[in-house]
Symmetry: C2
């Protein structure tokens, strides 16, 4: 598949060259230890493609790569990788090389990587960096995990209210090479307090002698350093922002959060919710290299399974208490599953809906809306309870070959236990949210096993009452 | 809470004025039918806040709002709302007013709104617009739902390879007011084919007489009009893009997709996956107004519940077949739940992990990676099977007050059925993906009910074999 005519030096790179071809070219240049070729191959590639190619190298090739490629270029490549992957690669180098690469990385990315390391390693790396960078990293490491402070980056372009557009434009051009973004320029007053925001578009369209104060927007959408990252993402999404400024309590600009970080967080949080619903304590990393290790996966799945075993044991224990009933009326046994499934799943559905609504943030400061939502959920729960009770009891009638009592027992218990469990689902999500705990733990396997406990108890109790009423027990 | 001193006219808007205060001011201006005041209140607000305030008005107030506020301003407000909400508000106006507002909206947003309407209504609205806008909308309406074509917008800034930076900058300034974004400028050759891309930052840093061809990046990350929206989002996220160009098969630029649209899609797709895992056919809309209606919610939850009832009926039927066994050995009954839970949940976990990995797109053209992933999953499944079988059988020993046979039956059947069901989970997700079907349907309640079928069958069969071997049955 290698294109033999390819000659990088005279600018004839075929734009449609596939990643696989480029991979081969890079590996060839590495074998030949040809730095010039390697740099030429890397140059036209987007950082993410460079990383993909790098990531496919074997250890021997990677060691050659570290020798041949400038630390600055390696740092650019690493900015396209997940932080735990970068950490693993840094471990392959000596501390000095690794520290140099880290110090070239954007501060927020470097902090992400360091957060995977032990305190000792962090100190070790920081001591190898120049003081300014080390201090910038320390400042960010200080913020609580998942707060705006821990994910923000430096490199915002700031101008003064009293600048005119020409002066501001000069500041922008001077700072553009190192700036995280140039689309949005923040405006400070003489006390360095954030008072406004101007888009580059507005600057370009304004007259050169206009005062920044006159063209800026005063109502700046912003967050503080301790805002939770979920709220950061929600703010950026609602206001369609590509950059969000982060301020301290005194309205001093501390950093900015860019939309690419927000997208990563959005995806991460969505995956976390998904995994929790499936009963996995923390997302199994989407990473090829992890496919060699099974222990981390076991650690994520077993806690839920083991806690469920104990909850299921309670269910079995409850059923065993009803052994005399079962001995007398063995026909009851087949319908335990029918009732349990129709208890657990409506509960999960109700909890999942509440979970998504709560995490959308719409109830944050609107108790009226929350009340309306809960009221609607109660209506739905009752309606669903009636419908599935009718269908389920007809199925029970069929399986039991026309046993009206079984039909009655199944119908009544499905209605009662599905309604009760669904209310528990909605209620616990709302309650956990109000208590500032993670509502996601209330969903999934937990709801389904609590549903089982509730299902068997309601089922056998209903059976006892109805069979007692007709004189069978 | 109203600040009596507030006087909009002399520019003393307090930046920290809360949304609630502004809401009251807007409502006041509406009651007084004071257009000037109303415009002044709206002016300093971000579009999303304007929408929040508008959305809180009652119908009477909204009708006044339509009278007082310019259609162009209303269109800006509507661009911050979900398309089905906009559709509902447009219905409150006459066709001409609504069409005017639609024609002021960004083409992609207008198409989103029209997609909620009947063909007749669409024709009606389009006939009221000027020909150019109507044609632009028709062009987009033509693309398949969820394709890049249907979500792209026009308004990209394009320059020619042969322009110099000064000429290109002039084109940018001329087009900036209507452009969707000015951060990225696309480069066309003389045949109008997309050949490169330049960032505004690169333009600002380049010398004014440099040729665009010499500063542009030739490897343009792009998608075609029929690329699926999930791949669009993945591409933007992987490459950290804020804008992605959409081309046709001949590499002509058709439109661009901006990161705020990508974030909305990412959230929507994540919610869809979440709801499917919980057994809800389609996301219940995160919308306050829907809280008055329960039928749409029932329609989304009942299909899963009803199909599960029928699957559970199969389970009950299987259990009823074993009635003679149960009559002979009633002690078997309590452990059905213990086995079933430990069959369903590991299956859901395995399916969920496969689901997230598959939807991350990493196996798209890498069968080696997929094989490695499946191999690892098999190891995990077996390991989990052994561990939960041991714990579960000890619990069974405890509940059955030391019945070694029950311990053996529960242990063996938990291992067999959990492994089998987990393999089905991973296998069906991978298979559905390979067949280009939505793998999300294989997870959640379906896996859990298939787990029940598998659990009871394996459990009673194992019981029969073991009890037969020791001569009890």
């Amino acid at each position: 598949m290698v294109n033999e005519d390819l000659n990088i030096d005279d600018q004839t790179i075929n734009e449609e060259l596939s990643i696989d071809d480029l991979q081969l070219h890079v590996e060839e240049a590495l074998r030949a230890a040809d730095k010039e070729q390697l740099d030429a191959h890397l140059e036209e590639l987007h950082g993410y493609d460079r990383f993909r190619i790098f990531d496919n190298l074997d250890e021997q090739e990677r060691l050659g790569f570290y020798q041949l490629v400038e630390p600055k270029v390696i740092s650019e490549i690493f900015e396209n990788a997940e932080s735990d992957v970068v950490e693993r690669y840094l471990e392959e180098m000596n501390v000095q090389e690794a520290a140099e690469i880290l110090s070239y990385m954007a501060t927020d990315d470097a902090v992400d990587v360091l957060n995977h390391m032990s305190a000792g390693d962090i100190t070790n790396y920081l001591s190898q960096m120049d003081d300014e960078k080390a201090q910038a990293i320390k400042d960010l490491l200080f913020y609580e995990e998942d707060s705006a402070g821990s994910i923000m980056a430096g490199g915002a372009i700031t101008v003064l209210e009293t600048d005119n557009v020409k002066e501001a434009m000069k500041k922008l051009v001077d700072n553009a090479p190192d700036a995280e973004t140039i689309n949005v320029i923040y405006v400070l007053n003489e006390d360095k307090v954030l008072t406004g925001v101007v888009s580059l578009r507005e600057m370009i369209l304004a007259r050169r002698n206009q005062m920044i104060h006159d063209i800026m927007t005063e109502r700046v959408i912003k967050v503080t350093v301790d805002t939770d990252q979920e709220d950061v993402v929600r703010t950026m999404r609602d206001y369609d922002l590509t950059v969000l400024p982060v301020v301290d309590d005194h309205n001093y600009l501390q950093g900015i959060i860019t939309v690419d970080d927000a997208m990563d967080i959005l995806e991460e949080e969505a995956q976390d919710d998904y995994y929790k619903l499936a009963g996995i304590s923390e997302g199994e990393k989407v990473r090829s290299d992890d496919d060699y290790y099974i222990i981390p996966s076991l650690k994520k799945r077993l806690p839920w399974l083991v806690s469920m075993i104990f909850l299921s044991t309670v269910v079995s224990f409850i059923v065993s208490l009803f052994d005399p009933v079962l001995q007398a009326v063995t026909i009851l046994a087949p319908f335990v599953t029918l009732v349990n499934n129709m208890t657990g799943v409506p509960g999960i559905q109700a909890a999942a809906v509440a979970m998504m609504r709560v995490s959308s943030g719409e109830f944050e400061d609107d108790n009226e809306l929350l009340k309306k939502f809960i009221f609607k959920q109660v209506l739905i729960i009752v309606a669903i309870g009636v419908i599935i009770a009718v269908i389920d009891s007809l199925c029970a009638l069929f399986i039991s070959r026309g046993n009206i009592l079984i039909m009655l027992i199944v119908g009544v218990s499905v209605f009662l236990s599905s309604s009760f469990n669904s209310l528990v689902g909605v209620g616990s999500v709302v309650l956990l949210h109000k208590l500032n705990l993670d509502p996601a733990v209330a969903s999934g396997p937990l709801m389904s096993t609590i549903g089982d406990v509730c299902g068997v108890t309601v089922y056998f109790t209903t059976a006892l009452i109805i069979l007692g009423a007709v004189g069978i027990m």
